[in-house]
């Protein structure tokens, strides 16, 4: 299925997926990203402290921080409204 997501939609997908610690490979696989773009987004989210880097038995994982909740909540609220609004157009 072809699709074109905005960077914010990608951030939301990454943050939701990383509610449980995830490896870099599983993030890019699940969010359907190439490694370069995936790394850029993860670096950005790390810089914003929305993603935390966790080391477990020599392996690196990413986990969504508490701070990211503000973005997740705002995003979910706006996207829900986006769908519910203007339904009269098709009724």
């Amino acid at each position: 299925m072809k699709s074109r997501r905005t960077q914010y939609e990608l951030y939301w997908e990454i943050l939701i997926y990383c509610k449980n610690p995830r490896s870099f490979t599983s993030i890019i696989h699940k969010c359907n990203l190439n490694s370069k773009i995936g790394q850029e987004h993860i670096d950005f989210l790390k810089q914003k402290q929305y993603l935390l880097n966790i080391k477990e038995s020599n392996k690196s994982f990413y986990k969504t921080s508490e701070k990211a909740q503000e973005f997740i909540t705002l995003f979910s609220q706006i996207y829900r409204e986006l769908f519910e609004e203007n339904l009269t157009l098709v009724d």
């Binding site: 299925m1 699709s3 997501r5 986006l82 339904l87 098709v90």
Partner: protein, 210 residues
């Protein structure tokens, strides 16, 4: 939220599915009629070796119909594929739609429309073109039929020709009607895509404030 959303998405998917099915049927019919026109009239054209004949016109009409049918079937099948994919992934009995899955589905639908809006617009244009061609062809066939009425053709031939004319006009009118429904939904999705892009400003502000 969940029930309302399920109802709304199902309604939209159902209409999109209906539209894609109708579009696939019409594009296949258009393609098939085009091929029949080409095959039937090309042979009689070769036999008669006379280019100034109805057969020449029908061959051109046939090529036009076959072309329209071919380019019409691709976006229709893509839309059908998307709708069935969403129905399979999100609306089977095993899947429970929670808030995250709902937002995820909204993202999928918006991003699909962002990617495919050109094709959907093309479907609208080609649908209208197809409808116009069917009606034009109906008019040409009516003239041809009127001319042949003066000759001594059997009544069964007349009935078949009248039936085919009715079908042709009905297809034409329906093909012009379909884009009306697609456009209604395309406008709604256009608005959603636009609003999702406007929402980017709010997200940017939030991210910059951190």
């Amino acid at each position: 939220m969940e029930k309302k959303f399920n109802k709304q998405v199902n309604k939209e998917l159902l209409i999109f599915q209906g539209l894609s099915v109708v579009n696939i049927i019409f594009s296949a019919i258009t393609l098939a009629i085009g091929i029949v026109f080409i095959v039937n009239n090309l042979f009689s054209l070769i036999e008669s070796r006379n280019l100034i004949d109805y057969s020449t016109l029908y061959v051109f009409v046939g090529f036009a119909l076959a072309g329209i049918g071919f380019f019409w079937i691709l976006p229709s099948a893509s839309l059908m594929d998307f709708v069935t994919d969403i129905q399979f992934k999100y609306f089977n009995k095993k899947t429970e739609l929670n808030d995250e899955k709902i937002i995820n589905l909204i993202i999928k639908m918006i991003s699909y429309y962002r990617e495919e809006s050109r094709n959907i617009k093309r479907m609208i244009i080609i649908s209208r073109l197809g409808g116009t061609f069917f009606i034009l062809n109906g008019i040409i066939s009516s003239i041809d039929f009127y001319i042949k009425l003066n000759s001594n053709l059997q009544i069964t031939n007349h009935l078949i020709q009248i039936l085919s004319l009715i079908l042709m006009f009905s297809w034409g009118i329906l093909s012009l009607f379909i884009p009306h429904f697609i456009k209604k939904f395309a406008n709604l999705w256009e608005l959603r895509v636009k609003k999702s892009e406007e929402a980017g400003v709010i997200f940017k502000k939030l991210l910059e404030s951190n």
